[in-house]
């Protein structure tokens, strides 16, 4: 056995830390050098246990230093009268110049989009930022292990929750919520908007974090023609001009038929005839999705769509790099005068 009173040394070091104005100095104490030096003098079979003890002392002392430093730091801090309008002997603080203030272009555009849809009769709800597999996939007719899930590159939490990869994660909720209204002779009309996530590397045209707006309409007699008309109507309002549209077949497990929807690039953002902009995915809601929400697909039909917000903003201002949006750089933000 070693002859060192490790516990006693530890107590003495801790006391020194507690009373020191510069506690970090204690780490340089000769006791540490002696303790570490002693390890090699011990019989090999005792070294491990002793070394461990010494390390524990070091860890305890370091923790004590940290808390002592915080204590010292805090002791220097002068408390203020938090109920006062300004500091003693000072004047009323001024707000920053109003002309410096800017709203983020994405939240502004989202408000604009939501505003148009509410005027068209769609309720607006914000999308969740953490959700479960059922809402993200299961309730939307994505069988488990289906390759279509791959396209979404979802993040997962330890608990198996998902940062939603599309605002469709709200669709099942919207349908369930609207069921009673539908069955009372009304219809379901709602948009969900918000932040979504995909596990992608970031570059000028890819982001793992972005914004979407999703829409849902269900009634007794909704048609695909209605969907295309509604979407064109939205974009015509948004761009303030008549627009041509085109579609392309697409596959989404939660729609049948599923389409990609494009508009001819509006003149207001420098478009020429024949230039097309893919705007969103859309389709008639798959009967399985209606059934999952307790809605009888033999009585009711619906359509849904979802598209990104960044694209609208980038086209509007000519923004070249997707990474600017979440950069929090004033050089970027102050370009968007309110």
């Amino acid at each position: 056995m070693s002859t060192y009173d490790v516990e006693g040394i530890k107590q003495s070091l801790l006391e020194r830390v507690a009373s020191s104005k510069s506690p970090r100095e204690v780490l340089k104490a000769t006791e540490f050098r002696e303790l570490y030096g002693a390890i090699s003098t011990l019989p090999p079979e005792e070294r491990g246990a002793f070394g461990k003890q010494v390390n524990e002392v070091k860890i305890a002392v370091e923790a004590a230093i940290e808390s002592r430093e915080n204590e010292l730091e805090s002791a220097d801090i002068v408390a203020i009268d938090v109920s006062a309008p300004w500091d003693i002997n000072a004047k009323q603080p001024q707000l920053l110049p109003t002309e410096n203030g800017t709203q983020h272009p994405l939240t502004k555009e989202l408000e604009n989009v939501v505003d148009i849809f509410t005027r068209m009769g769609f309720d607006a709800i914000e999308s969740r930022q953490i959700d479960d597999d059922h809402h993200m996939f299961g309730a939307l007719n994505f069988p488990e292990d289906h390759p279509a899930r791959d396209g979404y590159d979802t993040f997962r939490t330890e608990e198996g929750f998902i940062p939603p990869a599309h605002t469709s994660t709200m669709q099942h909720r919207i349908l369930k919520e609207g069921k009673a209204k539908l069955e009372a002779g009304g219809h379901i009309a709602a948009v969900s908007y918000g932040r979504v996530f995909r596990n992608e590397d970031v570059d000028a045209t890819h982001e793992h974090t972005f914004y979407q707006c999703e829409g849902v309409f269900v009634s007794k007699d909704a048609t695909l023609g209605d969907m295309l008309g509604t979407l064109r109507s939205f974009f015509e309002t948004y761009y303030g001009q008549a627009l041509r549209i085109k579609t392309q077949p697409a596959y989404f497990p939660f729609t049948e038929p599923g389409l990609e929807f494009a508009i001819e690039k509006p003149a207001s953002i420098g478009g020429k005839p024949g230039e097309w902009l893919e705007m969103l995915g859309c389709g008639m809601i798959h009967p399985n999705v209606l059934v999952e929400a307790g809605i009888d697909p033999n009585k009711y039909r619906g359509f849904a769509w979802g598209g990104g917000i960044e694209r609208l903003v980038m086209l509007k201002y000519g923004i070249e790099d997707l990474r600017h949006f979440e950069s929090a750089k004033l050089a970027f933000l102050r370009k968007f005068a309110s």
Partner: protein
């Protein structure tokens, strides 16, 4: 996926130009990313015949040739027989050969489209004139073979254009195949052609060989085929194999076939490999050849091919020489007991076909797409074959492909089938019949198709449609396993006819006014107020590095952790917005912004908040702001507080500020208790949030300037506050008011709020219209007191107040305040 238009044309006629075709395919089938005109690069390439060939003097490898180009190339030096002299270094050049000649002024196809394409000339080589060159497959941009010149294997008169001979006046469509994940049939040229016919309104005729679902192979029965056993029908719907003897593995496939492979991005190798790839490109059905003798040797007494799950600890060396440790979820092909291939993904080295192979066991099978997908991901192998298996290859397809493969192998390699096809075919899939009414189709699409229209649109692509009145019964072809319900057929009808032909309408419904939700409206107002207060709205990521949490004094244990993030920067859900804002202060100061405020309105998540009734984590809405000034001194706290008072004042909310004490929530963690306040609604007493300066350790960790402070509030709580405000308007008085300034001297420990609170309490009982506002807060350097001066405004509803009346009120106020604060008036 790349599709050759000329290849398509072998199976369907195409109306209109390639651009029109591409537009039509885009609108009715799948997005086309690019259309490449490959014919352009072969414009100058001529078929020529080598008439004379002899070695060039003083060269060990060059030959001088005289070629016959049929006299088609103008302005060129010819001999008395009209032949053109070309020097050639290829080892296989010889008289009698038909070759591809690149005459002077033509561009080497391999360099076509380069910044500096290589243009040929007529120039002497070692003193001997050479006109242009004789081309290799590589120079012709066909495939990577530069070992010699291309030997034309078709009868073509000298002078014919090379492109014409090999159908190279072609366009390649680059297909965005992600949107075809549910369409294994479209992963073959024939299936794609069927769709191209359908969207043009043309009936499609399936090639006869592909219709032979039950065809057998002629064979002499001299070989013993193994037994085939699929151990579990969920692994594979069907496994077929046949024995072929006398395969010449060195035989080459015809150049025509090779060019179609290379147009599709597949490298030609040998006839037997090319045939397998060719049929896969045509139909989507992969196939695989094993060395029969090796399989037999491995199988030993138990000559059985088994499709089974891999065993615990089982290993396999693949064709590429890599050894993989198999997972018990992997599907393997076994000879007897021994695994010889990773099913659908890659064969094994132990049964590899090589130059010595004389007899092959040729397989065509299908495997469970989900198992293929997980094995592919697990082993990171992405081949053309497994890409197709993960789409779900239909079981009936293997037989006609196997029979056609045997026929082609016989033709091009001299092999002979020496056994019947052996198979295990446990699939229980029934033929799918879907019923749909004409009305349902039209009601869903908003169209007016007749029963005949519908029957013809679907019939063109292989559906069998019979109408009983207006109710259709549709038999789904085996290659469309994706069609199960009426809606699937509705899509097919709309798509084949063109969604773009549907008239646009808007839903019929009552006029209903909808307004944005209360919370959305409130958040907009706060946003605009903060903007008016000169702040800049930011959006920052919802996920942060664990170090950011620690720097802010928050525990990562209380944050939802992302397990598969690409970067440690995105490992945890944030618990509050403040740390994200603090992360961005320094970069802006460094960029030259001396004074600014950043704010964000977003959601945050803490594990300790628990779950909703849907068992998903509770989300919090939050609004946070940070003010920073690189140069200013003094208490930044008051600047943040001023912004908060202003922004919420716009909503009519008034706030109380109390010292922060032992608040445990992670939101408070970055704030220094001695210089921060708990913010409450002065009406309801509800906690709204926190405002303050940051702990020294936080300032240091985030490199904040000394003058920095901020707040973080719960905007949902504001909704309740607004409800509680009610209507604040009080009628105006007809009488003038008066103001008095009062200076209280109190102990330093007395809070400004106590003075104002007690003054207001007193005044509110007078029935007057009252205002109390701060004028000055002075604390001399010596002593332990401070002076707080307030201005009191009084207005009566009943009369103009006299001096005495005012003094009475003020005296009362002074008594109340001084008693409460143990101060005095000076």
């Amino acid at each position: 996926m790349i599709i050759s238009v000329n290849w398509l044309k072998k199976f369907t006629s195409i109306n209109g130009t390639v651009d029109e075709l591409a537009t039509l395919i885009g609108a009715r089938l799948v997005e086309i990313e690019t259309v490449e005109n490959i014919g352009e690069k072969y414009q100058g390439v001529i078929i020529a015949k080598v008439v004379e060939c002899g070695p060039l003097e003083n060269s060990d490898h060059l030959n001088v040739t005289k070629i016959d180009d049929g006299g088609v190339v103008a302005d060129i030096e010819r001999d008395e027989n009209g032949l053109v002299q070309v020097v050639c270094g290829a080892p296989n050049v010889r008289a009698g050969l038909s070759v591809a000649w690149l005459p002077p002024r033509s561009v080497v196809p391999e360099t076509f489209g380069d910044a500096e394409p290589f243009v040929l000339g007529a120039k002497p080589l070692r003193g001997v004139m050479s006109n242009g060159m004789l081309a290799s497959a590589k120079e012709l941009d066909l495939y990577d073979d530069h070992s010699g010149i291309l030997e034309i294997d078709k009868d073509a008169a000298p002078g014919t254009l090379f492109a014409e001979v090999y159908e190279l006046n072609d366009y390649l469509l680059d297909i965005e195949n992600k949107s075809l994940t549910h369409r294994p049939d479209a992963f073959g040229v024939i299936g794609f052609a069927r769709e191209v016919a359908g969207i043009q309104g043309l009936p499609f005729e399936t090639p006869t060989w592909l219709q032979g679902l039950d065809a057998a192979v002629q064979n002499d029965g001299t070989a013993t085929a193994p037994a085939v056993v699929i151990e579990d029908p969920s692994l594979s719907d069907r496994f077929q194999a046949v024995v072929l003897s006398g395969v010449d593995e060195s035989a080459h496939s015809p150049i025509q076939l090779q060019t179609y492979l290379s147009r599709s991005g597949v490298r030609p190798i040998s006839a037997s490999v090319d045939i397998s790839n060719y049929l896969m490109l045509l139909t989507g059905q992969p196939s695989h050849a094993y060395d029969y003798d090796k399989v037999k040797a491995i199988a030993g007494d138990d000559f059985t091919i088994r499709v089974r799950l891999a065993r615990e600890g089982e290993k396999l060396v693949l064709l590429d020489g890599k050894e993989v440790s198999l997972d018990t979820a992997d599907v393997v092909i076994a000879a007897g007991e021994t695994a010889i291939g990773l099913a659908g993904i890659m064969g094994g080295q132990s049964t590899m076909v090589d130059g010595e192979t004389k007899t092959v066991l040729y397989e065509a099978a299908t495997f469970d797409l989900y198992r293929m997908r997980s094995s592919q991901m697990r082993h990171g192998i992405f081949s053309e074959a497994v890409t197709r298996f993960t789409k779900g290859i239909p079981a009936p397809l293997s037989n006609p492909v196997l029979v056609e493969a045997v026929s082609m192998l016989q033709h091009y390699t001299g092999a002979q089938a020496t056994s019947d096809i052996v198979q295990d075919y446990p699939s229980t899939r029934q033929q799918i019949v879907v019923r749909v009414s004409e009305k349902k189709i039209n009601d869903t699409l908003g169209t007016h198709f007749s029963a005949d229209d519908i029957a013809s649109l679907l019939g063109n692509v292989g559906f069998e449609v019979t109408f009983d009145e207006l109710e259709a019964s549709v038999t789904v072809p085996y290659w469309r396993q994706d069609i199960h319900i009426a809606e699937d057929l509705i899509e097919e009808v709309g798509r084949l006819a063109g969604f773009d032909t549907i008239a646009l309408t808007v839903p019929r419904r009552d006029f209903v006014a909808v307004k944005p939700g209360d919370f959305d409206q409130l958040r907009s107002v706060v946003r605009r107020s903060l903007v008016r207060a000169g702040a800049n709205e930011v959006l920052t990521y919802s996920f942060v590095h664990g170090d950011i949490l620690k720097k802010a004094g928050q525990s990562p244990d209380n944050a939802y952790r992302i397990t598969n993030s690409l970067s440690p920067d995105l490992q945890y859900y944030r618990q509050s917005l403040t740390p994200s804002l603090l992360t961005n202060v320094f970069q802006n100061i460094k960029a030259g912004y001396g004074s600014f405020a950043l704010f964000e309105a977003n959601k945050v998540h803490q594990k300790s908040d628990g779950a909703t009734s849907e068992s998903v984590p509770i989300e919090r809405d939050s609004i946070a702001l940070v003010v920073a000034d690189a140069k200013k001194k003094g208490a930044a706290y008051y600047e943040a507080k001023r912004v908060l008072d202003y922004a919420l004042g716009v909503l009519g909310i008034s706030l109380d500020y109390q010292p922060l004490q032992d608040q445990q929530d992670a939101v408070y963690a970055p704030f220094e208790p001695k210089r921060s306040a708990l913010v409450t609604d002065s009406k309801t007493g509800d906690v709204i949030g926190v405002v303050g300066e940051y702990k020294k350790s936080v300032q240091k960790a985030f490199k904040l300037p000394e003058f920095s402070a901020g707040f973080e509030i719960n905007p949902r709580q504001l909704l309740k506050s607004i409800e509680a405000i009610g209507i604040q308007y009080r009628p105006l008085s007809r009488y003038p008011g008066t103001e008095r300034d009062i200076c209280f001297q109190v102990k330093q420990s007395v809070q400004y709020g106590e003075i104002v609170k007690s003054a207001e309490q007193f005044l509110n009982e007078t029935g007057l219209i009252v205002t109390v506002s701060p004028l000055d807060i002075y604390q001399p350097e010596e002593g332990d007191t401070k002076n707080i001066t307030i201005r009191v405004g009084l207005v009566s509803y009943e009369k103009t107040m006299t001096n005495e009346e005012v003094t009475a009120v003020i005296d009362g106020l002074i008594t109340t305040v001084t008693e409460r604060t143990e101060g005095k008036v000076i």
